[in-house]
Chain length 236, copies 2
DNA sequence: CGGTAACTTGAAGATGCTCAACTTGAGTGG
DNA sequence: CCACTCAAGTTGAGCATCTTCAAGTTACCG
């Protein structure tokens, strides 16, 4: 079994135990697994990509090298829903940690033309747009420490929804540099923000595992309201 | 005729001459027009709202009053596609200028259950998400002047697509304060950024009309690439 | 156990903010 | 048509957040 096999690797990050490959199974689609090192481009042409383990991101790089992450992907997420729905994705997807992806030929998806499937994808897209809106609020109107707090609350909530949180702690191997590119900050400032959160006893980070020590206070600091994530509980 | 009637008002901003109410007509939906002053809440319950004239925005306000605009709406845009697709919209919509909206009862839309309609809405949603991604890049990685340049390029492109640009100039009555809330800046800084763009002879603003004096240079400054807007030309 | 990526810290500087005063301009009523 | 009013725009000065540059230190991986 895939799940057992992955869990056997001791340092393998954030596996979705609720078998996200259920997506492929539900619609009877062939899926090939692939393991990818961290900091690599992930998308291959003519395939849809389902993230099974690890964390990835969508990002854009400006001509002068400035990089902005526009979304963080966790197990169970589809990396490129636009590839399925619109035959194109206008972004790159990179791994933030070592990842396992499930690859499904686009041709097979197109062939089955399943109404439930496009419905499910569109529901996911609406949720992703809600997340994007919240990122816009963060980037526009929250200061560094609030931005970081909000992102950690979001990740906690999303990881919990797929069973990857124990207590208030979860695996977190994203580098400070990548956090910086997600939060619109520099890695130096991310480091200071994290130190400040540690000093305030709001978080604890050790051995690639992050613990939210005082989630209520963290959520208050971030003005985090999970309503935007709850709405479409998004099966499939 | 609606279009003629609106165009009769001399100071009425950015009317979509290509009759955006074609949306309602195409699907044979009843639409009531309503005129709304600037800086007002726009959404009413149990209705879908189509923007016919003027400019509006989706926004969120934090507890301490900080406000972030997450999207700018122009004639032809649907203010609350989520209200139609998911029976809820987790944002407020405000008018930025005086507006005319077309209101369509949600019950009537739900009743017809037209597949083309949900398809069209989902296509619009994907385009909006592409715009949101670009806003994330701007807010995260562009400095003030680049952010403003990029937004002006975006508005130029979108307004041109609905026939509201003459030469390189279009009606623009959004206040500097609202620009600030869209760009994650203060109105004071927006003022300085606009002055700088004026001094560089990149834009000209007079009598509520904005002219892009050197669009190629402005687009280079913003690193603007209209691909994300072109993709789904979005009829309906 | 050596090498490299990631993290940490300090100091100086840039971008953008806050506060405050003033100017301009559009809409209103006399 | 003018005076009045209030919202919007403009400008200056000082300050906060965050950046840049640079020099370490730690931790992971082969």
């Amino acid at each position: 079994m895939l799940t057992a096999q992955i869990n056997g690797l001791t340092d393998f990050p954030t596996v979705h135990p609720a078998s996200p490959e259920g997506f492929a199974r539900r619609f009877d689609l062939p899926m090939r697994e692939r393991s990818i090192p961290k900091q690599q481009d992930l998308l291959l042409p003519d395939l849809a990509h389902l993230l099974l383990a690890g964390q990835a991101c969508r990002n854009r790089v400006l001509r002068d090298g400035r990089r902005q992450i526009t979304a963080i992907l966790i197990p169970g997420d589809i990396c490129d829903p636009e590839a399925i729905l619109a035959q194109r994705a206008d972004y790159a997807v990179n791994t933030l940690t070592r990842c396992t992806v499930g690859e499904i030929p686009l041709a097979r998806i197109a062939a089955l033309d399943h109404h439930d499937l496009t419905d499910a994808l569109n529901r996911r897209l609406r949720r992703e747009e809600a997340i994007a809106r919240e990122w816009i609020v963060s980037l526009g109107r929250r200061v560094g420490i609030e931005r970081m707090a909000h992102l950690l609350c979001e990740l906690h909530w999303r990881l919990a929804a797929v069973g990857l949180v124990i207590g208030d702690s979860f695996e977190m191997r994203i580098t400070q540099s990548d956090f910086a590119d997600a939060l619109g900050l520099t890695s130096v400032h991310v480091n200071r923000v994290l130190k400040s959160l540690r000093d305030s006893r709001l978080i604890h980070l050790h051995g690639g595992r992050l613990t939210l020590l005082d989630r209520p206070r963290l959520e208050r600091l971030a003005q985090f309201d999970p309503a935007y994530l709850e709405t479409s509980a998004v099966p499939v």
